[in-house]
Amino acid sequence: MVKKILGELHEFKLPSILTPVCMIGEVIAEMIIPILMGRIVDLGISGADMNYIIRTGLMMIVVALFGLAAGVGGAVFGSKASTGLARNLRKRMFDNIQTFSFSNIDKFSSAGLVTRLTTDVTNIQNSYQMILRMAMRAPASMIIAMVMSFIISPRLASIYLIAVLCLAVIIVIMLNKATRYFKEVFEKYDKLNESVQENVSAIRVVKAYVREEYEKSKFRTAALNIYEMFVRAEKIVTLNGPVMTGTVYICIILISWIGAHMIVSGELTTGAMMSLLTYCMNILMSLMMLSMIFVMITMSQASAKRIIEVIDEKTSIDNPEKPITEVKDGSIAFEHVNFSYNVESEEPVLKDVNLEIKSGETIGIIGGTGSSKSTLVNLISRLYDVNEGRVLVGGVDVKKYDMETLRNQVSVVLQKNVLFSGTIYENIRWGDKNATDEEVRKACCLACADEFIEKMPNGYDTFIEQGGANVSGGQRQRLCIARALLKKPKVLILDDSTSAVDTATDAKIRKAFAEEIPNTTKLIIAQRISSIQGCDRIIVMDDGRIDGFDTHENLLENNTIYREVYDSQVGSSGDADFDEKV
């Protein structure tokens, strides 16, 4: 795992190596300084040697400058390496995501991908920086301090060794227990916040049913519960401080007592004892630091795993070896197609589908939710690959086409469609970036989008906000249709793309299609029977099968499902949409 992540370092390998080197330099300076300090006291002050004090003082300054240079170097290199790693990880993930097929995208979900690209990368960046700067420093500092202590006096230094071992055991036990408690607390804490979220978004329901007091008492109970749990978890953590200071104090006392005896018997100088006491702090601080690093590593482990999942994901749809780069015509055929989103776990979503659509035909598709209408059309532009059978466009298996060619010739307006932040011109030009203003306007006119665009203060230069937040649902759908039309495709697929457009405009768009692009094969999925009854032929989908494929009149006569839908919408009971979104 570590290897995978570090594999993305590339040009930041050198700073990654220099950082710990610098940090060790800083540690060495830090270690030498107490010795010099001890000498100043010992030899300089006790020996009343002013020259010695000044000489050692100057030496100390030199060492301090060296430490400063190393420290600054460590800071700069460490920052470069960690932010650089973050940059490379983001890029590697983003590039790979762009190769993802629809099933890859479904697997991760957009929210999941966003978290991986943002929070998870930040986690890695922070812990990498921490590890580079501290992981070497803390053990190095501890070992050097330990070695120095042993050089000064092995007898006294062994006190440290025992203290460190004891503390390490205690810290590990506490951390273990605390992380378990905290995990529990944070799960509960998330739940509490979820309930707040629920209240914020459902505030109208709360107020309409006058349930403010009820919600308050529910929240109060939950908040008290969280409080108890936090207190329990923190009680363990707060033991840390007293245990640490306690150990430091015990060490100081032992060293003072034993050291005093040694000084008296001439085995130790006063200066050496002072140095020893300084190392005491160094050793225990490093231990503390190490425990923090462990926590950080465990925390970032999950992030690293999630990032690697994205980097390792292989696209499930690849371009063929010798791709065909021309689509002959807009004819479509399905031959014994079976399809499921997850081959192992579920029964097929499409079962033995056979279809034959001639180039230039207008086909309507109708059926209940979950009858796999969208699935059917998504196979045509090879957004998913079939499990069995073949899908042919222009007489050729879609798997043999160059994907870009196929998708430019088979233009889909997805059910969940989005616009991107940018002007209307920019958004429509997604269909063809070299299109002239004239062509863009023509496409908009075909999609009946021109009428509202021209009414906007800036016309085609109007800025669309992220997700198209500043246009209405119907307007958004029309812009998406215009964008798809600009490709001048041989096959145009509208997946429930006029549901928010009023009936009159809907009819107008269909009329424009019939008149302006007669040779384009058009597939229209709709809930409203009025949207499709004028089509050449209509496919009735039911539970992954084609229940009927015929003209409106014939279906009315022979197809029960179609008749049922027709009756409920247009017939006697008169339940058609009363659509008011003009």
Binding site: G71, G78, R87, K91, E194, A223, E234, W257, D496
Partner: protein, 646 residues
């Protein structure tokens, strides 16, 4: 008189968001004081003990430092060279120090323990106050604030405040006390050396301020670039399928690379500047040590002012332990500023004006006695409005029927822009009123006024001939049922969710309501029936099923007046039929205001109200309006009127 009072309350000063005291981040002192107010409210004693413990801890550690001096000067040096050294005095001294240390450890333990209660307890209180206050806020607050922003108060802001109270605060106290006590000890040991040390601290602070300024600018850059890049990532990930369909991968990658590079550059600089601070400060500390050693050495060797070698040794330790707390304070500074900014947002929510309620007409259980309506203690199934007339000092009871009138109502969400003009409406008990019109015509707004989610600017709305401003809000809302287009369910069982409409409903009542709403069928088929847990707004149910539950929830409340917002398409025809049937059953016998999207609903209404730009343009039955061949005709047929006449 009551009328006057209401007018007064609705004066301009009452509108939320205006005139409310808002603490400024430029006034961190006041903010800090307010936070401390919360801490002190319940935990004054705790805090006093904590401060005492911190003082003990600091004294213990200062004693420890001084001990080195005494140890060397008074106990070790005299022993050197003695043939039979007497360790007795040394043992005594060490014994004393052991006591100090033990005291220090115990004190630091008590302090840490108590701070848990202070920190977590304060947060618990704050959290509860925040939530309870939020529940009391008017709908307007939720409509004008992004839900993500409100949520971030509970998650981010409370969290930073938690860190400040439980970590920064004790550390600050500790640092402050250490600084003072070390300073005093230094002064006692040597005044000239103290001046030198203070001067070096000045240098440290100066350098810190300079570096922080540069890194601050870089941090702002970094934050901005993170924002841009994350925004771009979110946008593209949401639209990733569209990117694929349009083969736009390369363009997207190019833009991403550009933003990614910008972020890297600024992040690198921001981090580097922040990180160099630590080594710089540490080395200035060492410099200070050397200078003190040299000057101190000179003084000690020349025996000025009775300054001893041991004294110098102690002073140098103090010198080291003086710069440490100062660095700590400067490091805590950032987190404190962040916590204060968070606290500002928390207090802003707490300072929002809650929904006011001056209603005095109450809804009571009623029964008939000798042809007179009287109040009843127990549930009778009949309700009446209890109306107290102040002028006459009498109380009248009036049966609740569900008669709603709008009399020349004007309304705007802000005073500047009116969205409803001269609305005149009368819904008699049991009538169905359909509101139709294009998006933004004001349909939803009308329904928001009946239950007083918003208050009108002019005109009157009457419920059973009582001005709704006189009715207690809770009672008014209890008498109105609501089924919205976006159904919101709560975490809990299916039965809990239905029972939301009537908390003390029996299992039979729940079942009956579900049956009425056509929800019983699907609930039976759920793995655990009525006890199935729903989470995440009923994510495990289909949209149609969620709607059925919302209808059942309204049915169990059994209100005389209903506000319905029909769902726009996207449910398939079969489910829609079931939902529609449920709604129809619910509407039966109740006064209903329905924001209609379905032809059958509109056709079967007693009154169709066609709205356009906040005005009623047509009103009447289906046949009457078709006859007019105006706006309704156009909506109904999808043809423009002039096209027909032509």
């Amino acid at each position: 008189m009551a009328e006057e009072k209401i007018k007064e309350v609705r004066g301009p000063g009452q509108r939320p968001g205006r005139g409310a005291p808002r603490p400024d981040i430029e006034n961190p002192g006041a903010l800090f004081k307010r936070i401390m107010g919360y801490v002190l409210k319940d935990y004054t004693l705790h805090l006093v003990i904590v401060i005492a413990c911190i003082i003990l801890t600091v004294v213990a550690s200062v004693q420890g430092t001084l001990f080195t001096k005494t140890l060397i000067d008074s106990y070790i040096t005299p022993l050197i060279g003695q043939a039979n050294p007497d360790y007795g005095p040394l043992a005594n001294a060490i014994g004393r120090v052991v006591m100090f240390y033990a005291l220090g450890v115990v004190a630091s333990f008590i302090q840490a323990r108590l701070m848990i209660f202070v920190g977590q307890g304060t947060l618990r209180n704050l959290r509860i106050e925040l939530f309870e206050h939020m529940e009391s806020l008017p709908i307007k607050y939720f409509d004008t604030h992004a839900h993500g922003d409100i949520m971030s108060i509970y998650t981010n802001d409370i969290d930073t405040l938690r860190q400040m109270i439980s970590m920064s605060l004790p550390q600050l106290l500790n640092s402050a006390i250490t600084i003072v006590s070390v300073f005093v000890s230094m002064l006692v040991l040597s005044i000239p050396l103290t001046i030198v040390t203070i001067a070096m601290v000045g240098v440290t602070l100066f350098v810190t301020a300079k570096t922080t300024k540069v890194s601050g600018k870089n941090f702002v850059d970094q934050q901005r670039n993170i924002g841009t890049l994350n925004g771009y990532i979110e946008e593209i990930m949401t639209g990733q399928k569209v990117v694929k369909v349009f083969c736009h991968e390369d363009e997207v990658i190019n833009k991403f690379d550009e933003l990614n590079e910008e972020l890297y550059q600024s992040a690198y600089k921001a981090n580097a500047f922040a990180n160099i601070l630590m080594p710089i400060v540490a080395q200035i500390g060492n410099l200070s040590y050397v200078i003190c050693a040299i000057i101190g050495g000179a003084i000690a060797l020349n025996q000025y002012l009775g300054f001893t070698v041991g004294g110098l040794a102690s002073f140098l330790t103090f010198n080291k332990s003086f710069s440490m707390p100062i660095n700590q304070v400067s490091m805590q500074f950032n987190s404190i500023i962040m916590a204060l900014a968070g606290a500002e947002r928390i207090f802003k929510l707490i300072d929002e004006k809650p929904e006011t309620d001056d209603g005095y007409v109450m809804l009571v259980n009623a029964k008939e006695e000798n042809g007179q309506i009287v109040e009843s203690e127990e549930f009778t199934g009949h309700w009446a409005w209890k109306h107290y007339h102040k002028a006459e000092g009498t109380t009248t009871y009036q049966p609740m029927e569900g008669d709603v009138t709008f009399n020349d109502v004007d309304f705007g969400y802000t005073d500047e822009k009116m969205v409803l003009h001269n609305i005149l409406l009368h819904a008699k008990p049991g009538q169905k009123v359909a509101l139709v019109g294009s998006t933004g015509a004001g349909k939803t707004t009308i329904t928001n006024l009946i239950n007083r989610f918003y208050d009108i600017q002019d005109g009157k709305i009457r419920y059973d001939n009582i001005n709704i401003n006189k009715i207690k809000k809770a009672d008014l809302r209890k008498s109105l049922g609501m089924v919205l287009q976006d159904t919101h369910l709560f975490t809990g069982t299916v039965a809990d969710n239905i029972r939301y409409g009537k908390l003390d409903a029996t299992d039979e009542e729940v079942k009956a309501a579900a049956k009425l709403a056509n929800a019983h069928g699907f609930i039976k088929r759920l793995p655990e029936g009525y006890n199935t847990m729903l989470t995440g707004d009923g994510a495990n149910l289909s949209q149609g099923q969620r709607q059925l539950l919302a209808i059942a929830r309204a049915a169990i409340a059994n209100p005389p007046v209903l506000i319905l917002d029909e769902a726009t398409s996207s449910i398939d025809t079969r489910t829609e039929k079931i939902v529609q049937d449920g709604m129809d059953k619910l509407m039966h016998g109740r006064t209903t205001f329905v924001i209609a999207h379905r032809l059958s609903t509109v056709k079967n209404s007693d009154c169709i109200v066609v709205l356009e730009q906040g005005r009623i343009v047509e009103m009447g039955t289906h046949e009457e309006l078709l006859e007019l061949k105006q706006r309704y005709y156009q909506l109904y047929t999808g043809n423009k009127p002039d096209m027909v006449s032509a």
